[in-house]
Amino acid sequence: MQPEHDLNKPFDATAEITTDLTIPRLFYRQAKRFGANRVAMREKEYGIWRPITWQEYLDNVRAIALGLIRLGLEPGDKVSMMGANRPEGLWAEMAALCAGGIGVWLFQDCLMEEVRYIIDHSDTKFLFGEGQEEVDKALSVVNECPKLQKIIWDDPKGMRHYHQKILMSLEEVKALGRELDREKPELFEQLIQRGHGDDTALLFYTSGTTSLPKGALLSHHNMLSMGQSLMSVDPCFPTDDYVSYLPFAWIGEQMMSISCGLQIGYTINFPESPETAQENIRDIGPHVMFAPPRMYEQMTRTVQVKYLDATWLKRTMYNLASRIGYHMADLKFQKKPIPPVWRFLSWFAYITVQKKLKDHLGLSRVRNAYTGGAAMGPDHFRFFHAMGVNLKQIYGQTEVAGISVVHRNGDIKFDTVGLPIPGTEIRITEEGEIITKSASVFKGYYKNPEATAKAIRNGWLHSDDKGFIDDDGHLVVFDRTKDVFTLRDGKLFSPQYLETRLKFSPYIKDSWVIGDRKPFITAVLCIDYSVVGKWADERKMNYTNYQELSQKPEVYDLIEKQIRQANKDLPEAARVYRFTNLYKEFDADDDELTRTRKLRRAFVEKRYKEILDALYSDTDTVHIDTTIKYEDGRLSHVVTDLAIRTIT
C-alpha cells in the first residue's frame, strides 16, 4: 500500500505532496486526526456562533457522499453547487469528491441563462442549491438540461409548496446515506481509497471578460500542491481562524477553504448572512484573509466616509497617525532601518488610532492579508500598510488553481506582485506575455481542446497578461494584453492603473478609462450613490434618484476635484481630459462587469458607443434614450442628457 493511502496515518504538512494524495484522503486523515476535539467550522446562526467539529464534518460528508452513491452517482459525474457560503455547501462539495464526483460551483447571483449554460455544458447530474431561490432557478432550466437528475436543497424556508419529484432535501439524502452506511459500513472508506491525485476534482467556470465561460479542469494534485506552496511561504496554524464569505465559485475562496484549509486544519467561519459579513469578520478577527481588491477598496471607503463624519479631534488624531503610518510604510518599502524615534511614534499611532481602526475593520489579528484577482492601485495598497496591515499582492488565475506569485514578508513593493511561490517558474515571452509552469497548471478546458491548446503550450501556461520582471526579480503585471493603451506620445499605458487611482476617491465607485490611440484620455465614472448622496444631503441638495444626482453640476464639480487629484503627478498624455458621469452603476447582471466585478471593455464600448463618440467630439452633452432592464425583469425607459466636462 502506498503511504498516502494509509488512512490512519496523520497528515504531515511538511512532507512533499505526491500524486497519490487526493482531497478526500487528506480530508479523511485530517478529520480523524482532529476528531471531536477541534472545531472545523463555525457558522453564525440565530445570532450565535455555532461550532462544528471535524468529527461532525466527517459524519455529514459521509452521509451525503453515501446518499449520492445511493442516488446513482458514478465516478466522474458532475455535482454542481449554488448558494451562499455555509457549512452545507462545503459538505456537499467534499461529499461529491469523496464519492468520486467532480465539483462545479456556480455564483449565487448567476442569471438563469448562465445557470442553464453551466449545468448543461458541465453535464451536471446533481445540483445542490441552498433554498427556494436556487431551486427556482434550477427548476426553470431543468427541461433544457436532461442530464440533471436531482436538485437538493437544505434551507426549508419557503419550500412548503414544492413537491416536484426532482427535488429532495439534504436531510433525505443524508438519511439515504446513513441507510447505505448501515448496509455496507466499509463502503465510504473504499470510496475514499479510489481515485488518484491526477484525477479531476473541480470543474471551474472562469468568468470570461470577452466570451462565454470556459470550464477549467483542476486535479486534486493541482489544488493540493498549490496550497502547500503557499503555506510554505506564509505558514498558517491549526489554531488560526479564517472567514469564508466570498463566493466558492471564485478560485481564491477554494484555495483558502480547501487547498490551504484542509492541509492546515484552521477553522473556517461562515457569516450569518451576506449582509453581515463585514460585522462577522470583526467578531472573528481572522488571522489570514484573501479578497479581491474591491473588498479592500470598500474598507478604505468606509474609513474615508467615517473620517468625513468624525469630530475635529478625531480627524486631527487620524491625520497625525496616518502621516506617521505612511512614513513607516515608506521606510518598510525602501527596506530602511527604523530609527527609535519613529518606533516610538509608530507605537503612539498604534495606541491612539490604528488599534481601534483595525479592530473595526476586523484586521486586528491578521498576519497576512492577500489581494488578487484584479489590479489594486498603489493608493489603496499604501493605505493598508500605513495602517499597519501586512497586505500582499498575489498574481494568479483559475488555471493554476489559485496563485503563482506572492509578496514575501519584508520584501513588499506596491507596484509589483512579488516572487513566484516554490515549485513555480515564471517567464516573460518575447511579446511580453507572462507564462507559468508548475505542478498546479490545470488539465485543460472541458470540451474545448482549441482553447486548451492555446493556453498550454509546451507545458507553459499562457496567461494573456502583459508584464515584466524587475531588477529585484519581482513580477510586475501591466494589464491584460488586449487592454493596454497606446497614448498619443506613443507610450504604452495601463487603463487599470488610472481606473484604480480614480477609485481611491470615496465618491467614485467605478470608472472606465478610454484613450487607446486617441488624442487624449477620457473617463466614464459611476458615482457612489450612498457617499455622494450623503454629501448632497449635507448640502441640502434635492435629488430623487441616482440618475438625477449624478447629473448635478455640484456633483460634477466634486468629481472634477477627485479627477484632478488622480491626475496629479501623471505625465500630461496620461491625464483624464474629459469625463462624464454615467446615469447608472455598472452591473454584472447587465454584462458590464464579470461576476468578479471586472469591467468588460469590449461590451461597454459597444453599449455606450454614443457616449464614447460624444467624449471625442466637441459637444458638452450627450442625449441618452435607452431601456434599462431591472433584476426582476421590469424594463424602464431612460431619456436623459449626460453632461460632459472638460478639465482644463
Binding site: Y46, G158, E279, R634
Partner: protein, 272 residues
C-alpha cells in the same frame, strides 16, 4: 405554488352592525364582517372610506357607539387595547409607529413583553427561572422572527436610522412577537418600492401559511394587485358603508364596486 387548504369555518372575529360617529360624521355605518380562522381577509375602499376607523374599533383604540365586536364569540367592546392584545390581537400601523431611538431588537422585545412572567425583582436577581425564561424568549425572537424577516444585519441598529421599508418590517416583527392569532395589517405596503412589496407580501403569506404561525390576517391595502393575489376574501367599504364581502373574483366583477371606484383607475392596476 399550490393553493392553500381552505380556511376553517370557525369564526375568529366578528363585527356586527358596528357604527361609529365623530360628531355628525358617520365614519362607519352598521358594518358587519366575519373573519374565519386561517384566512387572509382584506378590506379595501377609497381614501376616507373608514378602513382605519374599522381597524381601530377592532384593536380597541376606538369604541364603536353601536354594534358589537366579538372575538371567539365573546363581546370585547369594553376591553382596552392591551387586554385585546392579550387575547391575541396584534397590529401594525399605516404610518410606522416604532420607537426610533431603540434598536431593532429592543423594539421586537417590546412586543414580547406580554409573555414575560417574571417581575422587576426577579429580573434584578436574574437567576434560575427568570434567566431561563429570557433565554427562551431570545430563542423565539431570533429563530422565529429575525430569521423569518431577514433582518440579521440590522439587529443592533436604532430603528430611526433605517430606511422606511425596513422600519415597516421591524413593526411587523414587533407585532409577531406577540404571537398573535389575529394580525391586523394597516397598509403594510404603502410607501414601499417594488422589491420591498414583494418581500412584505411573502412575509404575510409565510405568517399565514407556515405551520409554525398560521396567523389569521386582516389586511387593509390599496395595492389591488397584491390584495387580489393574497386574499381569501375581500371586504369593500365606501363612505362607512359595506358594499360587499366576497372572494377576489366576485369583488372584481361586482358592478357596485366598480362604481364606487369609478374614476379611480388604480383599482385593477397593479404596480407597473
Amino acid at each position: 405554488m399550490q393553493a392553500k387548504p381552505n380556511p376553517s369555518e370557525e369564526v375568529l372575529l366578528e363585527l356586527q352592525d358596528v357604527s361609529m360617529y365623530f360628531g355628525k360624521v358617520t365614519a362607519l355605518s352598521e358594518v358587519s364582517l366575519q373573519i374565519r380562522k386561517g384566512e387572509i381577509h382584506s378590506v379595501i375602499g377609497p381614501n376616507g372610506a373608514g378602513k382605519t376607523v374599522m381597524m381601530n374599533c377592532i384593536s380597541g383604540v376606538y369604541r364603536p357607539q353601536k354594534g358589537e365586536v366579538r372575538y371567539r364569540g365573546k363581546v370585547i367592546n369594553h376591553l382596552r387595547p392591551y387586554e385585546r392584545a392579550k387575547l391575541g390581537i396584534s397590529r401594525t400601523f399605516q404610518k410606522v409607529e416604532v420607537f426610533g431611538g431603540m434598536t431593532v431588537l429592543d423594539n421586537i422585545r417590546l412586543g414580547r413583553h406580554i409573555h414575560m412572567k417574571s417581575g422587576i425583582l426577579s429580573g434584578a436577581i436574574y437567576k434560575g427561572k427568570t434567566a431561563r425564561e429570557e433565554i427562551e424568549h431570545r430563542k423565539f425572537i431570533e429563530e422565529e422572527i429575525i430569521d423569518l424577516l431577514e433582518i440579521e444585519h440590522i439587529r443592533n441598529k436604532p430603528v430611526g436610522m433605517l430606511p422606511y421599508g425596513l422600519q415597516k418590517r421591524v413593526e411587523l416583527g414587533r407585532a409577531l412577537a406577540l404571537e398573535p392569532e389575529l394580525l391586523i395589517l394597516d397598509e403594510p405596503l404603502a410607501g414601499l418600492n417594488l422589491e420591498e412589496v414583494e418581500d412584505m407580501a411573502r412575509f404575510i403569506l409565510d405568517v399565514n401559511e407556515e405551520k409554525r404561525w398560521q396567523v389569521t390576517c386582516l389586511l387593509v391595502e390599496h395595492d389591488m394587485g397584491v390584495v387580489m393575489d393574497l386574499s381569501d376574501r375581500v371586504f369593500v367599504l365606501n363612505f362607512g358603508n359595506m358594499i360587499m364581502d366576497g372572494t377576489p373574483a366576485e369583488v372584481q366583477s361586482n358592478p357596485d364596486v366598480i362604481k364606487a371606484y369609478l374614476g379611480e383607475e388604480d383599482l385593477y392596476a397593479t404596480r407597473a
